[in-house]
Amino acid sequence: MKFDPDTELVARVGKGDRVAAQALMARHLPGMLRLARRMLASQAEAEDCVQDAFLKVWTHARRWKPGQAKFETWLYRVTLNQCYDRLRKKPALGLEAAAEVADLAPAADVVLEKVGLAEEVQNALGTLPERQRAAILLCHYQEHGNIEAAEILGVSVEALESLLARARRTLRMKLSHLRSR
């Protein structure tokens, strides 16, 4: 059985331990929000999605059985499913809200260029099919290994590698003009 660093925290959360809930949140919230934000490209939708995912954690923590699946894998799968649900309800949202960019501080021209590039990348990411987008985000952004990313997506490692290859090829095609800058 794989060691799961979250097992103890989840058990404590199930008993109503607020400190454990805060620790669990501190450990996973940034990664989950980043994934949701890139999947949905809207801050508000991403926040709602992550909040719903944590609501599931709070509700199911009492019944969590360690050893069945790694908690983090389950958590990211829940987050992704929340994202898929929202994408299916509002398919256009990803691109409409792509212009939303997080706070940046440096000089204005650098910021504008960065914002422009970020927007282009976010737009290109938004055109990828859901599963390809999820695959590339899990592997490149969340720094999950291929095996863990495949588990989260519920596919084989070979299928994940195929999704990744297609996603990278599409990104390269869509952003080929950036290489000349």
């Binding site: 590039l117 990411l125 952003l175």
Partner: protein
């Protein structure tokens, strides 16, 4: 082919690296914790359960709840069975013997003047 894939992977890494970081708003943390508090309050034990849990901790610290609960239930069942199955004649017999004991327990009447 492999080289091409490596280049694509490197390009994807660089492109994704251009995206700004995502900060976690404190309002979101507060909302999530408020959800936790609401659910924890819903699952918090009632007064009777809290009393039972305290009794359990005094009697059998660290034991799962079912252990003291089953011991309590078993002793209750034995008590009820003994009460129901005990024959009435035994009760009557015990009553008369109690009366005898009570008579025997009474202080002896001593005639102080006669003894002297």
């Amino acid at each position: 082919m492999i080289e091409n894939r490596k280049q694509e992977a490197r390009f994807a890494d660089e492109a994704l690296g251009l995206l700004p970081s995502v900060a976690v708003p404190s309002a979101l943390e507060a909302r999530i914790l408020a959800d936790f508090d609401r659910i924890a309050a819903r699952h918090a034990p009632g007064r009777l359960r809290r009393l039972f849990l305290r009794w359990r901790d005094d009697l059998w610290p660290g034991a799962p709840l079912w252990k003291p609960a089953s011991v309590l239930a078993l002793s209750l069942a034995i008590g009820v069975m003994a009460g129901v199955l005990m024959p009435m004649s035994d009760l009557a017999a015990s009553t008369s013997s109690e009366q005898q004991y009570a008579a025997g327990d009474a202080p002896p009447v001593v005639n102080m003047a006669g003894d002297l």
